[in-house]
């Protein structure tokens, strides 16, 4: 099912508000993949992502009566997902359960011996110097190590392709703050890549 026009979406939301189980099944089917992938990218751990993304839909089911239609349904669902991710990240950091994440495990520590003398600034196409897979692993690790505030906007913008306005709505900050965080997140990312390539030089 696609919510192509406002009328269809409005009727669908009415069914959800009435806690129509079949409508809710459709909603889960429509968004499970996007929510799961977003949560996985935010948390970096599959076990946590499975648990939390299911919890997102439980919260959606509970709170659908409060949805006023001021934003898109998807934006509202993403907002719930991002807020739950923030809480879970805080909870996990307090419990100090920073096990090796799946993102981190992507990195192949021995794979970049050939990257001598390399920095992102010095070479135009760093992916030509190291294999694409290895560079992507570095990026994935850098994102996993990023502050949650920066990681969330970067993922929402550069991967989910959402507008600044939508991101501001989801994250609950002004558009200017979103732009600033994205800028700083990209700068952090570049720095992390350069550092990782630089370490190979030493």
């Amino acid at each position: 099912m696609k919510l192509e026009d406002e009328g269809t979406e409005a009727r669908f939301i009415e069914r959800l508000r009435a806690h129509d189980e079949r409508a809710f099944n459709e909603l889960v089917r429509m968004y499970e993949r996007r929510v799961f992938v977003l949560v996985h990218r935010m948390l970096g751990r599959r076990d946590e992502a499975e648990d939390l993304s299911q919890e997102v839909f439980v919260q959606v089911f509970k709170a659908i009566g409060q949805f006023r239609g001021e934003s898109k349904l998807s934006t509202w669902i993403f907002r719930i997902a991002v807020n739950l991710c923030k809480n879970r990240t805080l909870y996990l950091s307090r419990r100090r359960t920073r096990g090796e994440s799946e993102l981190e495990s992507l990195a192949d520590r021995d794979a970049m011996d050939g990257a001598k003398g390399a920095t992102v600034a010095a070479i135009e196409r760093p992916d030509e110097l190291v294999s694409g897979k290895q560079l992507e692993a570095i990026v994935a690790r850098a994102i996993a190590a990023m502050e949650p505030d920066f990681r969330e906007v970067l993922v929402l913008r550069d991967v989910e392709d959402l507008s600044y306005e939508e991101i501001a709505d989801i994250v609950g900050v002004k558009e200017g703050t979103v732009k600033s965080r994205i800028h700083r997140a990209r700068a952090q990312l570049k720095e992390a890549i350069e550092r990782a390539l630089g370490e190979r030089v030493a």
């Binding site: 099944n25 799961f36 200017g176």
Partner: protein
């Protein structure tokens, strides 16, 4: 300078190469949600609502509407066959 002031009008550079790299890095090995994802959500709602929602097995599954139609037609055919079999011949 505050965040909001810094980028109040011009958008930050998009840096397409970095974006492409980021997409590739995150899209690679993109995980699929578990097959029983919906069932897990339904079970949670069933438990939290103390059995109010998703109380029967039918609504816990994602049976398509066609399943109900086909089941009804099969039942009608069976009733008709039974009628023919059990009705004494004239």
């Amino acid at each position: 300078m505050k965040d909001d002031e810094r980028f109040s009008s011009p958008p930050p550079d998009e840096d397409p190469e970095l974006r492409a790299l980021l997409r590739r890095a995150l899209a690679k090995d993109e995980p699929e949600p578990p097959r029983d994802f919906l069932q897990g959500v339904q079970q949670r709602i069933h438990r939290r609502s103390r059995g109010k929602f998703y109380r029967d097995g039918w609504s816990r599954t994602t049976a398509p509407a066609s399943l109900y139609v086909v089941t009804s037609l099969v039942m009608l055919v069976m009733v008709f066959v039974l009628y023919l079999v059990l009705t004494p011949a004239r």
